[in-house]
Symmetry: C2
Subunit: 277 residues, 2 copies
Amino acid sequence: MVDAPTSSSSLADLWKARYRQPPPDVALPENTVVRGLMAHRSVRAFSAASVPQGTLEAAIAAAQSASSSCNFQAWSVIAVTDPQRRARLAKLAGDQAFIAQAPLFLVWVADLSRLEHVADAHAQPHVALDYLESFTMAVADTSFAAQNAAAAFESFGLGIVYVGAVRNHPGEIASELGLPPRTVAVFGMCVGHPDRKQPTAIKPRLPQSAVLHHEKYAGSEVEVPAYDATMMQFRAEQGMSPQDWSTTVIGRIRDAKALHGRDRLREELVRRGFELR
Amino acid sequence: MVDAPTSSSSLADLWKARYRQPPPDVALPENTVVRGLMAHRSVRAFSAASVPQGTLEAAIAAAQSASSSCNFQAWSVIAVTDPQRRARLAKLAGDQAFIAQAPLFLVWVADLSRLEHVADAHAQPHVALDYLESFTMAVADTSFAAQNAAAAFESFGLGIVYVGAVRNHPGEIASELGLPPRTVAVFGMCVGHPDRKQPTAIKPRLPQSAVLHHEKYAGSEVEVPAYDATMMQFRAEQGMSPQDWSTTVIGRIRDAKALHGRDRLREELVRRGFELR
């Protein structure tokens, strides 16, 4: 069993927790930023304390500082603190209790509406917004921004977890938040003080050689059995039911039903004004 | 003219450069991580020095530490250092010289191929991969990972710029990198030492009130004229031709031609095995 390292641990210890392998032979540069990023764990249990004043503003400033395709800034974020609204959103997003528990729920929105208004204000066409490219660009922009916010929140000692289940019912989420056409909630993010009585561990990932390729793509099938064993061990350490990674993956990609409504994402997006040409 | 702050400047100075507005009245928490994120600027001019040993490995460890939907880890990254290959990729990605100049070009790949192989190895179905949801999830996962890598590289004093133009010709990029079906290059990232003779500035963003909404979405049309003026001033400071934000946006969303080939993204994705149901 590996001790749970934190952002003040050495990069070597963080590497061992993340990969369950010794670090490579090459000297790794390290600093506060990289240690912080490597110490990430998703938090799904929060104390009752609210997020300190100024924290949201600083995190969103970090988010807006992320790169943005063509400086389009094709995203918005809705900060939800109202307990009733959080409870309704929790219900819509996979009925997950920690969404209602977290003092702050951020809904990250791919937003082509603002760009449409810019063109409309000058009576100009905006045909490019009707293409899948524009949706894809907006999802990437939203994600860059959100990930910077995640790093900022964690640097303040707060915990976060992403909530992909806001894509289960995009229409209802949009109604709840008053989202206009050409916008859609891409993911949520719970933010709060981690409940110290329910600490979380660093989740092991595939070996770096499985995702990092040099010059050309190389298959990673050969890496999977060892990672299956790693995840089996990790779940045992966490007191979870035994299951290897392959079994988890297979259960979640088997059929359309495993998508919990997200098999309708395309028609929901079209209904919300993304033509996805 | 605002002085160019760096990651060692105060958050107040970074805020002023990013928003061209004074910081809010609330006390903003700050630390090395947030200052680093807020100091981001895209770098498109690099010195000849290569990226130090160990830097790539540390950055990818940070990338793999980002959240991943269902722990699917649905991405790969190809590190390209070969000068001939960089030159060919530069040509394919909008003929941008800085891609060939940067010593390291990372191609970030949305990767459903690995998940398909996991199911195939157990003779199980993988129907969910055929849905737009799975592509969307993979784009978000890839972006979270890439953004962590960006923050890591910048924390080491390196500069980066994202390259969306790898989506101009996804088929040719895939051939160059040997990408299998159900994978696609989502964006590239140049990495290298910034050329000190061509310093870059912090690009102003929309006011925070334009992207951060409380409880419900609120339109941001009213914020655009002031930002138009800000971007006009920024471009003047940078010695660029005068153009406000609205004009830039309109020129890039006007018609399908403005997408430089990305109007074919949907058919290219289908050809690459993403059914996008």
